[in-house]
């Protein structure tokens, strides 16, 4: 892995030397290009300041904060159940998955555990939000690379998943469904069969995207070898999720830690890729979406009966203590370090969001690439601005 990194670095230095010679002869000068905060490719309001030499990037620096909402401060004036409404808005495409680690942290401090059925449904909804989130990524990937058709397929098929989430929780984007000690409600009648049908559709969608994009030579030439993140660099920057697994690190928090969730109750596979380039990251996400549909199906097969809510006090006071819970969210590792002082609300919540770490690698990664590669790399890292700025 390091060899690729070195080669990339060497090629960059060599090209810089060659360019410098030409530049002295022709008296050219660089140009600072300001990509964003409003730009079609920044998924929100990320701003990237790039110093260009022709089309090559000399250095690039992301500048975030255009959407900073101060959730860490706001949690200090909320009660524990109210916080889920806030954290819903962090990664707004996979909202339910944001609630789960916070609720788990609170449950851990209170030393309670949700009943099995609630754990199963949580896991199912968690995976559904992953499918909804990543399927949009797969479509958007095409747009970033210039192919407009996949995004419409993604929006079409994501709708089925959103309908499922709405059916179960009442909210399409911000369910706010998870409660300390369980879930707000049980699943509605007919939901399970509907979900099975939709999972088949989503697998078809994955095949479609694979045929449309991943088999395309132009797509491969645009993504292969672009934005290579070697394994040790990925670890140092705290990359997580598919970005880390694409660099060859076999680590999935769903499998590698014990949480009161249902992932360890069924059989599934963690996908890794050795290349660490943009293609690997996109490919991992495609495989994971497909894998998620299987997880959901298998969980539906083994869905236990019983209550969805354990006994909790009506007014929730969380005992004093500190808890760290992180889960493998659609974007990567999402964790909450919750400090409670035995109050109605948390004393301090540190929100560790995946995109913040994933994007902090951008200045390192963008050196020496071309302008179109900026877009490819950003798309393949897959960030959501709410997840960077919180």
């Amino acid at each position: 892995m390091t060899i690729i990194g070195d080669r990339q670095q060497l090629a960059y230095i060599a090209s810089q030397a060659a360019d410098a010679r030409v530049n002295v002869e022709l008296e050219t000068e660089g140009m600072t290009l300001n990509i964003g905060p409003q730009h079609p490719a920044t998924h929100g309001t990320l701003r990237i300041i790039a110093r260009l030499d022709g089309e090559q990037v000399l250095w690039a620096e992301p500048s975030c904060g255009y959407m900073h909402r101060g959730y860490e401060k706001l949690t200090e004036v909320r009660t524990f159940p109210q916080v889920t409404a806030l954290v819903n808005r962090i990664d707004w495409l996979g909202s339910f998955a944001n609630e789960v680690p916070f609720i788990l942290a609170a449950e851990q401090l209170m030393e309670i555990e949700a009943p099995p059925r609630a754990q199963w449904i949580r896991t199912i909804l968690f995976e559904l939000s992953r499918i909804a989130n990543v399927s949009l990524f797969l479509g958007d990937l095409g747009v970033q690379l210039g192919a407009i058709t996949p995004v419409f397929f993604a929006f079409r098929d994501r709708e089925y998943v959103l309908n499922l989430i709405e059916g179960a929780t009442g909210g399409r984007f911000h369910p706010n469904f998870d409660r300390i000690g369980g879930l707000k409600d049980d699943l509605p009648a007919g939901w399970v069969d509907e979900t099975r049908a939709v999972m088949k559709k989503m697998r078809k969608f994955c095949d479609e995207i694979e045929n449309l994009l991943f088999g395309n030579e132009i797509f491969e030439s645009r993504t292969r070898g672009i934005g290579v993140i070697p394994r040790d660099v990925a670890l140092q920057y705290g990359m997580s999720g598919a970005n880390l697994r694409a660099s060859g690190v076999d680590w999935d928090l769903r499998r590698d830690q014990s949480l009161p969730m249902a992932w360890d109750k069924v059989d599934w596979k963690v996908w890794t890729h050795l290349d660490g380039d943009s293609y690997a990251r996109c490919w991992i996400r495609l495989q994971e979406t497909r894998e998620s549909t299987y997880i959901v199906e298998r969980l539906l097969d083994t869905l236990p009966s019983g209550p969805v809510m354990t006994k909790v006090p009506r007014i929730i006071k969380v005992p004093e203590g500190e808890a760290w819970v992180s889960t493998e969210n659609p974007l990567g590792e999402m964790g909450y370090y919750v400090v409670s002082k035995g109050d109605l609300g948390p004393f301090r919540v540190k929100i560790r969001s995946a995109s913040f770490n994933n994007i902090s690698i951008v200045p390192w990664l963008l050196k020496g690439v071309y302008v179109p590669d900026i877009i490819t790399i950003l798309a393949s890292l897959y960030f959501i601005l709410g997840d960077i700025d919180r």
Partner: protein
């Protein structure tokens, strides 16, 4: 041959040709936009497209034009005002100049001169000037990058396009587009003249190269870096709005139509039907009704080719700038050179 023409006075011919030229530019643009951009793209993307304005949204075009005409004509403060204003006109005028040499029937042509192919290829590069002017005059970095990309790309793809056409010229033995049409329709394949001899069959490699180069010339999707909406916002068109944007828009699709016309003239037999069907032997035998039937045949062929151009546009991702240059210089140009050599050898041999 000139039976029909000679009965019309010269001013009448001029008006007819002006009208015909406008129709030949605007009609394909409108049809391509409606049929392909609105409807085909929507169906490919599992949606309906415009449905409200007129039956099946057929009036949508006029609604769009009306919308653009109403919009404010914005101009960046630091733009080079004069160049900024005329840039879209330069692009559109290159389209009009291009359609001048396209024959639509035995007598339905605007000019008919010997170096038609040469002229068409030369005039098509005028649009590069307009794009470069737009990119430079906008005083916008995205526009500048887009304009420079366009210049590099259009020049790179001019060459394979010319080289691909050279094969046709060698085979037809003429640079006159009318003669090329006649040569294809009057020709025969190993003595069988049921289909004429469309150069699509004999110059298939040339046809492929020509279509790829056309795709690049039109800056349609695998080669749309000058516009590249996910990178450069809208490339050289970023700062344009209202009427001037509309001109760029018409120019884009009208040029697609005209290039499809030229491709159908060069490779698909143009306006003609195989002459043997009606027992014609040369252009002088062709009946007058072909002056009406010819344009219709051309339109059909044009739509077929535009369909392919748009189909590729809607399905493919975009190349990177350096990959595009590599593709032109390292793949297309060598292949087209080999094609020319092979054509000349075969031409001499047969």
């Amino acid at each position: 041959m000139f039976a029909l023409l000679s009965s019309i006075p010269y001013w009448g011919q001029t008006i007819l040709r002006l009208l015909g030229g406008s129709v030949a530019v605007l009609l394909p643009a409108g049809t391509i936009v409606y049929l392909f951009l609105f409807k085909m793209m929507s169906f490919m993307q599992s949606r309906l497209g415009p449905m409200e304005a007129g039956p099946y949204g057929s009036m949508q075009l006029f609604a769009e034009v009306g919308k653009w005409l109403q919009k404010e004509d914005l101009m960046p403060e630091r733009a080079d005002k004069f160049v900024f204003k005329i840039a879209p006109l330069v692009v559109l005028s290159s389209t009009f100049l291009l359609v001048v040499v396209v024959p639509f029937g035995p007598d339905a042509w605007i000019t008919n001169f010997e170096a038609g192919v040469f002229y068409a290829l030369a005039v098509s590069s005028v649009s590069v000037l307009g794009i470069l002017m737009a990119g430079w005059a906008s005083a916008n970095k995205y526009s500048l990058l887009g304009g420079l990309r366009a210049a590099g790309q259009l020049i790179a793809y001019e060459l394979p396009m010319i080289l691909a056409v050279v094969g046709v010229v060698i085979q037809a033995g003429s640079m006159n587009l009318q003669d090329i049409v006649v040569a294809q329709n009057a020709g025969s394949i190993f003595g069988w003249d049921g289909l004429g001899n469309p150069y699509l069959l004999t110059q298939f490699i040339g046809f492929l190269i020509f279509m790829i180069a056309v795709q690049a010339e039109l800056t349609q999707t695998p080669f749309d870096m000058p516009i590249a909406e996910s990178e450069l916002v809208s490339g050289y068109m970023t700062e344009y709005s209202g009427f001037r944007f509309l001109i760029f828009f018409i120019g884009e699709f009208a040029t697609a139509g005209v290039f499809a016309f030229i491709a159908s003239v060069l490779f698909l037999g143009g306006w003609g039907v195989p002459f043997s069907w009606f027992g014609w032997t040369g252009i002088n035998d062709v009946d007058n009704w072909m002056n009406v039937g010819g344009p219709l045949i051309m339109l059909t062929k044009m739509l077929g080719l535009a369909f392919i151009i748009m189909w590729v546009r809607f399905s493919y991702p975009r190349f990177r700038e350096d990959q595009l240059q590599r593709f032109a210089w390292k793949i297309l140009i060598p292949i087209s050179l080999v094609n020319i050599v092979a054509t000349s050898v075969l031409k001499v041999a047969f």
